[in-house]
Structure formats: structure tokens, C-alpha cells
Symmetry: C2
Subunit: 412 residues, 2 copies
């Protein structure tokens, strides 16, 4: 048969997504499937059982990454790979991550049902703990696999209850034997919801990001003087929450002023956090993203100077830590064009863009030619229970993925 | 003997305070004795045993308030009363509250040792849950006793684990039978650390507050739109933490501009509080205090207007609640002068001032003539582990209390 006429089964894709949405389903219509939780295990078990139904060769590596491999005509050629993650944010959505895994599963099932033989082997992957919301940082297991992060350091990362990632991975039975180490990959595609408002605003079905923004994470710690609020005059206070408030607004303002970037304070801890005590300890985070790494660094330089001035003026000593830095990841131009071409061939509107969110594709991009396929997020919303995409778009994205996989897998 | 020559035993007072500081003592040198905790019970038990040693008639009311009564010559005359509280803030200090209870205990012991007969009965009191840090609001049990708060409402207040105040009071064995209802009191004195920097700055030993500032508590709730930070452009965000930051600075600025008041944001909760999600829910508190109730209300009016403008501009709908309002409490002029006069008689320097902190004396002031005795707080610090006063000052304050009690108790 002419492989270009092959299409996925949209109904079956929807059923897989709905089945997965039950695991950790929340009353608000989202899912909570934190990395290494019981829900994560249940979802993994179901995923593996589905892979076995279509005779995939399933392996689990030391980081719990699950690979399902389908033989190719020329087994010695590097595989074509696609996947994403089954873990979620706390009270997250039903599409983030899982769409890329179920979308690729639907591609594998379509290949299986139609007895398709590809020149190269084809591999589906579920990357462990992409979200990083229980064990920071995000994308840790693809990072270890790609040789960019250390396995034992990853094992030692703790959640807020002091549990270690390595122990929790073993607890759910997904600490595999196979080394978490990159093997040759011919091409990697990741199918994902956009998580932003651009495709919806532009009325396009398929997004082809040219790459992922750089990502800089900082942690700020302020110390002041706690005191009973009533008897302590305004003059001479060292109120860390006031300092933090000025800094939060500085982050917001600098991002607006410089443009071509986003900068956000998403997290704040205030101590002792009692309504009649002047705060004497604040920790908050800064997240800066841009296509231009240097631009992001210049923004941070500006902020750092301003933070120091504020801390000095309010007598609240400051400590700043650089927590994580990922350079911008320009994807493989040929694969990105392939996504756009496939959309045109299948009659879907498409949009050339960037990805603001980090993905396992960032690390894969350092190992092999990589591209992503986006579909619209309703109201641009993600990491929330109301995260939504239409079933039609889910099917469209899976068809693009199918065509891209077929094209890459038949390359010699 | 000439009662005016009577003095407390400073060493014994220090020993009582040191004994109490062991109960819930923290590594940082403070105490943590939250209301209705096991530590609260242990401290109460010790206090009661000490009262029995000096043959006080001990009663516990429905709110757990402990009264120790010493007979007077004329038993039918209303009693003279003094005390404070044995509960503490989380990681609080060794003097706040407990000084007033141990100070009055030392006065009672001194009367006992010297076989002093007073015209009126003399009563020591430990008010339940003055701090309000486990079960809000503060001063709840003196409030019920004074008829200003409802007993069953107080019982139903819950801590962050959902435990009810009434149940916890019963659990520690201090839910007494006697109605928590005001009985006639001739005069009430409360001895306390200043919790502010004024006495230290003025180099005075004894503070005689003319009264307590009014206290207004507000709770502010903002809602916005949570989103993955990376793919969400700066334009069109509804970031509740940015709105809150502007409001926190407004509170600080208005208090500075208007003067004669303090205003503080001590507590903030941010949701989902994840570094890569735009905050969509913030709760924070506002605490406003002034000697002039109308002035405090005008400040709040200004803030309310400004909050609405900020919330509108940032598209983060706002809800504002008035949580607690206590009018300023001008103490009884005769008793306040008595504190100042006693200081002069005993050769201690003194200072006429106001109390910024709320005390059980606020509610007592609505029931009977009331005054307070302050001693300096080192660096003005309180509600923290490093809270400190000198033993000499502790003794000085107890001697003032002794003289005031003797004078009031011999009034016909």
C-alpha cells in the first residue's frame, strides 16, 4: 500500500487518552499523576500491556524510561523514535505528555494493524519524570539518558517528604537494569500540546516549532528581621516580603520592557508567614526564557543589579542561586520542514513557531535530529485541570506524526 | 509591715521563668507551646501545682482559663486581678505572656510568704490561647469571658489539621465546668514585655501604656489564570502574584505616608506555587493598627480603592474580607498613673506610651479598670526565639505589679 495514504484511528486514540485520564483523574477534570506515584505506576503498567499487545520489545532502563521497539527491515540501522511522558503536574491536565505517548502508541498500532514494514526499527518511549514537580528538576530522566545529568545525582533528588527519587522508582517497580545511556537514534519526534495561545490565535491546526527557548532558573533568598507587627514602627523594619514584592514586579517589568522573552516568579515561600509577624525570610524563584540565550542573560544581569539595590535599601540581605540553565535548542531543520510538509500534504493548516515550554526533546536534540509537532491548547491553557484540546486536533497531530515516522523510518 | 517596702524575690521569679522555658524549649533558645498542645498542658499543670503550694483556690472555666484566687479581708468586694498567658507563638520567645503569669505568681508568693492580708481578694489568671497562632483569632478566651465572643463559635475554630479548639481543650483536660463569664473585677493589671523598641531606645525600665492600638485584620483573595510560563506571552497574563506584589507595596507605602499607624502583610499563600506555572490564586493578609480608629479606617479605604484599581488593571478579580476588628483600648487613667507613680516611688525610670500589640487586657478593659506594665525587649524583638529581657527588668516589673496590686487591693 501507499504509505502516504495511511491514517491513524482517531477513535482509538481518543479511547486510549480517556482510559489514561481515569488514572489519577481529578474532580476538576484533570489528572494528578506525579512521577513515581502509585498512579504513575498504574499508567506505566497499562502502557506496557498495550505495547505487548502489538508485540513490541519492551525494555526499562535504570531511570525507569520505558522503550517499546518495533523491528525494522534493517535491524542494524539506528531507530526512529518518538514519545513523551505519562507523569503529570499536581492537578494537571489530560493531554500534557500523555498525548505524545498515546499518539505514538496509535502510530505503532496503525503500523501493526496494517502490517507495515519500515526500513528502520521504530521505537516509542515514555520518559520518566518529565514534569519535575515532585522531584526537581524537570526532564531529568531524558537528561540522564542523554548523558547531560548524573544518574546517582538524579537518584538522590528528594521530594518534599524527603523521599529519594531512586527509592521511589524502585518502589513502583520501574528501576530497570538497562543502562540509562543514549543509543543511536536516526530521528526523534515529540508530539505535544502547544501549552500556549499562539495556534488558537492564528487558527492553525499543526505547530512546527523551530526549537525550544532557553530556560534559566534562579532561586532568591532574602533575610530580614521578624518582629511583632504592632509595636514595631514602620521606620527601620527589614521586611523581606516587601523586598520580594519589589523584586517580583521588577521581573515582570524587565520582561515587558526588553521583549522577546518571558520572565516569571511562580513560587514564593514566606516565613514565619503569620499575619502579625513581620516576615524575616523569603524564598522565591525566577524563570527566564528566550530564543536568544544572551538576551536572557542580559535580563538577568539587569535584575541582579536591581535586586541588590532593593535588598540594600531595605536592609534585607540577598543570596541568589543559579539553579538550572538549558540553552535554547534549535531543532533539526529538515525534520521541522518535514512536519510542515506533512501538514500540507494532509491538508492541515500549520504554523512555524517556537516552543516556550521545555520538553524531553531538548535533551534528545543534543543526541540526534529532533523536531516536535504541536496542536492547539484551548485558551492556551496547560498545567491545569481545564487543559483541553479537541479530539479532531489530537487525531490530526497523530497523523502528522505517522507520516513523519514513516518518512524517517524508510530513509536509508 | 509597711506594704510599700515589700519586694518580690527576683531570683525565684527567674527560676520560675527558666523552669517554664524548658517546657517546649526550642534549640534556638525560644519556646514552642501552642495553645492546647501537650506542652501547653504541661505548663498549665506546673502552674496549677505552684498555685496550690500557696493555697490558692484554683478554678478552670469552660474556655480553659485558669484562675487562682487568694482570699481578702472583705470577701464580698470585687477582686483585683492580674495575669497573662502561658501559650506561645510557633518558635516564639521565653517571655511573651509567661512573664505576666510568672510575675503575678511571684507577687502572690510574696504576699503568701509575708502573710500579707489585703482588703480585697487577689486573683491570678492564665488566659487560654492568647496567641491565636494555632486557633485564630488571638485573645479568644478572654474575649469569650468578657462576653465579646461566642463560646461555641470559639470551640468550633479549627487548626490547620482540622482539629477543633473545643476538642483539643478537652483532650488536654482543661475544658472546665465553670461558665466562661465575667465576674466583678475591681482592677486588672497585665504585666508584659513591650515587644517593641521604644523602651530600649528611650533607656527606660518601666512602660505604662495609655492603651492599646486598634487592630484591623483583612483577608485578600485574588484569582487569575494559571498557565505554563514558557509558552504564555507576557501580554495578557493574569498573574495574581504580580497583583499581590503591588498591593503589598501599597500597604507599606500608605502606612509610611499617613504616619501614626503601622500596616503589614505578614502572610501570603500563592497557588499553585510552582516555578513554571503562572500563579492564579493568592491569599494575603493585611494588619492595620493605630491609636486612632478613624485614621486606620481611612487607610483601609485608600488601600481598598487602590487594590480594586490594581486588580482591575491586571485582570485578577479580588475579594476582600474584614476578618477582625478591635477598637483602640484607652486604659483606665487612674491605674496607668498608678503604674507611673509606683515606678517613681521605687526609683525606676518610666515611659508613658502606647501598646502596639494586642493583649487580653484589651477585652478586660471593656469589663473593668485596666492598665499594663511593660519592660524593655532586647532589640525590640518578640515572637521569635531570640526574644530577650534582662532578669533585672523582669524583677523591676514584678515589683511595680506588686505595688499596684497592693494599692488596688486595699481600696475600699
Amino acid at each position: 500500500m501507499d504509505k502516504s495514504n495511511l491514517r491513524v484511528n482517531g477513535k482509538r486514540l481518543r479511547m486510549s487518552l480517556e482510559e489514561m485520564a481515569k488514572i489519577g483523574g481529578t474532580p476538576g477534570g484533570g489528572v494528578e499523576r506525579l512521577a513515581h506515584s502509585d498512579e504513575d505506576k498504574t499508567a506505566r503498567d497499562l502502557f506496557v500491556s498495550w505495547l505487548k499487545e502489538i508485540h513490541c520489545d519492551v525494555t526499562v532502563d535504570e531511570m525507569g524510561n520505558i522503550f517499546g521497539r518495533r523491528k525494522g527491515e534493517k535491524e542494524s540501522l539506528p531507530t526512529v523514535m518518538s514519545g513523551s511522558h505519562v507523569d503529570s503536574q499536581p492537578r494537571g491536565g489530560r493531554f500534557d505528555g500523555i498525548l505524545g505517548v498515546m499518539g505514538m502508541l496509535e502510530v505503532m498500532r496503525t503500523l501493526h494493524d496494517n502490517g507495515i514494514v519500515t526500513k528502520r526499527p521504530v521505537t516509542i518511549v515514555d520518559w520518566t519524570n518529565e514534569e519535575g514537580s515532585r522531584f526537581a528538576p524537570a526532564m531529568i530522566a531524558s537528561g540522564v539518558w542523554a548523558g547531560k545529568l548524573d544518574r546517582d545525582w538524579a537518584y538522590g533528588r528528594t521530594d518534599k517528604n524527603g523521599k529519594k527519587q531512586g527509592d521511589e522508582l524502585a518502589r513502583i517497580g520501574y528501576k530497570g537494569k538497562q543502562p540509562a545511556k543514549a543509543f543511536p537514534v536516526h530521528a526523534y519526534y515529540e508530539y505535544h500540546i502547544e501549552q500556549g495561545p499562539i495556534l488558537e490565535r492564528e487558527s492553525k491546526t499543526i505547530g512546527a516549532p523551530k526549537g525550544i527557548l532557553c530556560l534559566h532558573w534562579y532561586d532568591i533568598y532574602l533575610t530580614g528581621t521578624a518582629n511583632q507587627v504592632g509595636p514595631t514602627p514602620m521606620e527601620g523594619r527589614n521586611d523581606t516580603l516587601c523586598s520580594a514584592a519589589e523584586m517580583i514586579l521588577a521581573v515582570n517589568r524587565v520582561a515587558h520592557q526588553l521583549g522577546n522573552m518571558v520572565a516569571t516568579v511562580g513560587e514564593i515561600q514566606n516565613y514565619p508567614n503569620s499575619r502579625n509577624i513581620i516576615p524575616d525570610k523569603v524564598h522565591f524563584t525566577v524563570d527566564i526564557r528566550s530564543w536568544d540565550d544572551g538576551h536572557a542573560l542580559r535580563a538577568w544581569d539587569l535584575l541582579k543589579k536591581e535586586f541588590n539595590i532593593i535588598a540594600e535599601r531595605r536592609s534585607t540581605p540577598i543570596r541568589m542561586e543559579e539553579t538550572w540553565r538549558v540553552e535554547h535548542a534549535p531543532f533539526n531543520d529538515k525534520l521541522v520542514r518535514r512536519v510542515l510538509e506533512s501538514a500540507e500534504e494532509l491538508g492541515y493548516s500549520s504554523h512555524y513557531m517556537v516552543s516556550g515550554a521545555g520538553h524531553d526533546a531538548s535533551y534528545m536534540n543534543q543526541i540526534c535530529p529532533t523536531a516536535m509537532i504541536f496542536i492547539p491548547s484551548k485558551n492556551g491553557r496547560s498545567h491545569v485541570e481545564v487543559e483541553e484540546s479537541t479530539w479532531e486536533d489530537c487525531e490530526a497531530g497523530a497523523n502528522i506524526l505517522l507520516q513523519c515516522i514513516l518518512k524517517s523510518a524508510d530513509e536509508s
